[in-house]
Amino acid sequence: MNLKKVLPLKHILLSILSSALLLSVLGLLMQVKTNLYKNVGDIFLNLNMQTATANAVTSVVTFFRGIDTVGEVTVLFLATSGIALMLSDTQRTCEKVVKQESFILNVGSRLLLSVIVLFGVYIIIHGHLSPGGGFQGGVVIATAFLLLFLANPNMSLSHSILTLGESLSGVAYVLVALIGLFKMNILLGNFLPHPIGEIGELVSGGIIPVIYILVGIKVGSEMSVIVEYFSKEDYYKEVCDA
């Protein structure tokens, strides 16, 4: 085993290049002086009492920088569309073959499913009180379905329901933004009542929990679609090869 084969010259040169870049960037970054100005986040922390949410990160994500989250949801939606475009093959002719499924795995995964989905819903609706929120809870729900697919390869989700949830929650999110425009004269305005005294309670923060619930539904259905495409892809391939 000679060294040249294990570590080609190109790799050695590139590692030297990387280290040189590392050292120069480090040299620059070590001189980072402390910020002369007040961070915008500190101002948000002071403002945060007004939105009456216990979790400041949530109010930044859904309210102070709300349009970012609309964009983020759109990015996920586009990625899902792209994955569906790539992996949904309408020309596949081979028949679906019912695969062997294990009874214990099947029952066990179904039992776990409800618990995991419940946990996801908890994370979503407590997004403005504790760490977590629509994105995290939505993905937790999607992992429940991943478990189901792994345990039972014949499982398939109802695409019409998923599409309905995805479209309706997305449109509702944009409508919430537009209602803010009509009622508060500012897009994404917090038009629901949000008295400061309610801070820490489940119903508080005006539109913020509403937005996170909509985001949770959307992310949950999109991620489930992604997971289904990725796990079904393998299934179809095996069936077609056989």
Binding site: N55, V57, T58, I123, P131, G132, G133, F135, Q136, V139, V140, A142, T143, L146, M223, I226, V227, F230, S231, E233, D234, K237
Partner: protein, 82 residues
Amino acid sequence: MIGLLILFTFLAIITVALGAILSKDITQSVMLFMGVGLGSVVLFFIFQAPDVALTEAVIGTGLSTAVFLLGIMHTSQEEMES
């Protein structure tokens, strides 16, 4: 204490990341990448960012790895030698 904890976590992450890059087996490299994510979760928690820690745990580590593993199930498992 916190400083030492951060230092050792960083050392662990860097080792695991090097392993992930240098490993010839793709599945192994994905699993090691999951190690990087887990180390990041610990660090985010230390940095008082529980929201980011939860997100990284669920999305950056959990679902990413699952998607990677499902993805490499039907592409080649090993790097082809040229």
